[in-house]
Every structure is written in C-alpha cells, then in structure tokens.
Amino acid sequence: MTLGVVVFPGSNCDRDVRWAAEGCLGIPTRFLWHEERDLSGLEAVVIPGGFSYGDYLRCGAIARFAPLLQEVAAFAERGGRVLGICNGFQVLTEMGLLPGALTRNQKLHFLCEPTALAVQPGRCSWLQGYSAGEVVTFPIAHGEGRYQVEPDQLRALEDNGQVVLRYRRNPNGSVGDVAGLTNAAGNVLGLMPHPERACDPATGGVDGRRLLASLLG
C-alpha cells in the first residue's frame, strides 16, 4: 500500500498529509510532482490543500491541466481511490470528477476553525470506518468553500447518497450544508475540511485517522 500525494507549485498541505498518513498511521507515501505521469504502484492518490498555481483565474482552474492530473483522472476512472482535500476538492470539481463548484464564502471571511460534520458514508470507500449519522470534528481553513450546484442537481446527489459530509452549522453558505461529496462509484471523495489535520493528538483531535486508515482496510 502506497499513497501518492500530489504536489503543485503552491500546495501547502502536502507535508501535512504525509505526516498524517506516514507519521501517524504508518502508510507509506510518495510525493507526485505535477509534471510527472507515473502512478505505478499506488493504491490511492491525495490532492492536498493549498493554492495550486496560485489559484489564479479560479481555484483549481489551472491545476486541472497538469499532466499528472490527466493520469489521476484515468486512475479514478479505473476505480482508483482519489481524495481531494480543500484545494483538492476545488480541483476535483474543475476536473469534472465531482459535480458543482466551490465559490467565495458567503461572508467573505477566510474561515479557520474546528467544524462539526455529520457523516453518511454510503458507498464512499474512504468513509467506511465511520457509522451513518456519526458526528466528527475536522478543521476547516478556506476562503472559497461555498459549495454551489443547481437545486435539481443537489437533489439528485442527495437521492444518490453522494452527499457524504454535511456541516452541522454551515460556516460558509454551502448549498445543502455540503462539506464533502463522493462520486457515484464511491472511489472519489472531495471535502473542504482537513481530515489530515485531525490525525495527530498534538493538533487537537484524531477524528480524521479513520479516513486515511481506510487505506489499510
């Protein structure tokens, strides 16, 4: 089991993910530079938080065209497990691996705080360590995390069990209190909160451990 961690110019949670996976849970990781194309030997890929390519134009808009992400799209298509955290979630929506878009927080503030989330794991392979309706606390740290999708699409996502993480107290104005989404197959997860910052007891809580530990399954 090796976990690939995507590194763009401007990524800043890549080392946090490595520490959470490798340091806290003993899962070997490999950094993947954005110009690479080699995903051989990887069971899963994380697109971490940060500001890929400076987030110029729109968050994740330029990252989508990185050579590495063409391979990540094919990897996800084959059923490979892909996790997008914060900027990684924004990138997944820009790539079209997940529907909708992330926009400016309703009150414009950058939000950085622990946040309670209700989990509905459904088919999502990343969340099988959590029970339905369980409430966990992960930190958020974003300025553009307001999930936006048309109402009929939101209903379709809800009906299909793809809204797997919801804010208990919506911090940013996301429609449907959406904090995290999975794709129809359940192998791709995107979420604004940071599970990798909830793995080391030194940083407050360890609710995020089970998400990464699902790789040890």
Partner: protein, 89 residues
C-alpha cells in the same frame, strides 16, 4: 498569420451569490452613491491570438472561454472579437 484581439467577459450566473459584489454595493452607499440596486463582479480577459482567419480565431476563443476562462457551472461568458484583424501587428 493575422493577429486577432478579443475581450472575454466572465460573469457569475444569476443564480450564484456574489458576496464580493454585495460588499461593494454596500460601500457604494457609504460613498454617497445611493440607489445602486444591483452590483455583480466579473472578469474581463483581453486576449490576442494568431489564427488563419476570423472563423478560426472565434473557434479557438470559444474553446478557451468555455474550458478555461469560465467555469460554466457557476459562470457565463461572452466573447467580443474585434473587427478588422491587424495582420502582423
């Protein structure tokens, strides 16, 4: 090849909240400009592009606008291709 100039205007779709526009609208009132009932912030992107002819330029600019400059999930775009290409300018 002739050089074409264009301007792509990107705006948030009407159904998408624009909190930055709302904050700016509130500031307009503080400036003393009353009666601003709507203020939405978008982007203007100026592009110069070499293409065989105006049709080819338009095709490339539409692809650029739809796939990169705007995200159709949340944004609309319009393209203004300037008349009269200035060859080799």
């Amino acid at each position: 090849m002739p050089l074409f100039s264009a301007r792509v205007l990107v705006s948030l779709r009407p159904s998408v909240l624009d909190p930055a526009g709302e904050a700016t609208r509130a500031a307009a009132a503080r400036l003393g400009v009353d009666g601003v009932s709507r203020l939405r912030i978008g982007k203007a992107v100026e592009v110069e592009l070499e293409a065989a002819d105006a049709d080819a330029a338009r095709q490339q600019l539409e692809l650029l606008s739809d796939r990169l400059l705007a995200n159709p999930v949340i944004e609309n775009w319009t393209l203004e291709l300037k008349d009269g290409a200035s060859a080799g300018a």
